[in-house]
Symmetry: C2
Subunit: 207 residues, 2 copies
């Protein structure tokens, strides 16, 4: 699923994005340094500034790249699947899979303090992605529970997967202290989805 071009990206901008992702993976977003990115790319310390303006610009580019990958993976997750519940399950797996494969990209996606959340491309892909999720939940509502509050339910699913991604390290640690081993995150996503779907299907709004 190499949606983010790994085959030695041509163009310095792409090289810099890849280097930035690697810096975040190696040292964490908290220790992110634009000069370190430049060093790894073998260019002068100001080269990233030419392409991305400032650090926020570079991280925003990374967020957009990650969001686009997420969107494409979610699209291919629903294609070829007909049952909307299976679609949602597949989306959930795709969500955490992208987050696991591209941790740096996904770490900045919702970090509005380090990216430019008003960027037009960023907003567009965000709308598209959520639209895809919402229409899947809508299909579940149509097929299984017409009284489901679709937008709320879609946001619930989204929040759950995002929370899982963020909390996974903590959960691993809890399991480690308890002496049990942590299941694969995609399987956890599937179990979460199964529980969520039970709720979506059986939920009756307040009368």
């Amino acid at each position: 699923m190499e949606t983010i071009s790994t085959e030695d990206p041509t163009g310095l901008a792409a090289v810099l994005r890849a280097a930035a992702a690697q810096v975040i993976i190696d040292k964490g977003l908290g220790a992110f340094s634009i000069r370190e990115v430049a060093r790894r790319a073998g260019v002068s310390h100001a080269a990233p500034g030419y392409h991305f303006g400032d650090s926020q610009g570079l991280l925003t580019a990374l967020a957009i790249e990650g969001f686009e990958t997420l969107y494409r993976e979610m699209q291919s997750a629903v294609s070829g699947v007909t049952d909307p519940i299976e679609q949602l399950t597949s989306i959930g797996r795709a969500y955490v899979r992208v987050a696991t494969r591209f941790p740096a990209h996904c770490e900045v996606i919702f970090r509005e303090d380090v990216i430019d959340a008003g960027n037009a491309d960023y907003e567009r892909v965000g709308l598209e992605t959520f639209g895809l999720l919402e229409s899947t939940v809508q299909a579940i509502a149509d097929a299984y529970n017409p009284r489901l509050p679709v937008t709320t339910a879609a946001r619930l699913c989204w929040s759950t997967m995002q929370g899982l991604v963020e909390l996974e390290a903590k959960m691993r640690r809890l399991d480690e202290l308890a002496g049990v081993d942590t299941p694969n995150i995609e399987d956890t996503a599937e179990r979460f989805t199964a529980l969520l779907v039970s709720g979506l299907v059986h939920h009756r709004p307040d009368r």
Copy 2:
């Protein structure tokens, strides 16, 4: 619910924690600066280093303080309530309320790249907090669905609330673009919990 002492904290360490939280609120965690904290506290730039070692130490102290507040609020959310579903609902509201009232503290709680996630106090309060949530979900299982996988369900609830906190800004933006207004986050948490509870109660594990 002023669990984090706001009544002018005595002792420089407490003053520095409060100043650090304010810096994060004002400029974002991405622009956090320990020297700025010192300036706001009216002390020399190296004073925070004496109390907290380095920047990671200060942010870890903040995370612990936030986690302890969360734990206490969750405790008081369940006390006096008997129905476990109401307890869970109350916990969900408490979770997002703490995150809203102490955004800086809660922003660092799971940011393992900027805090010391191995800190003993941090781990202890994390275990206690999750234990409280898990026993509430256990009570729901006992009362409504003995076959519920409790640990998974508890982590689902936790992920959902954490995801909601993280995505709330994005949801606000979606609503703004759609021209509708965003409900209060505590009410959203309650709607989420209602959907989750439907799932917890109706879920049947794979045979």
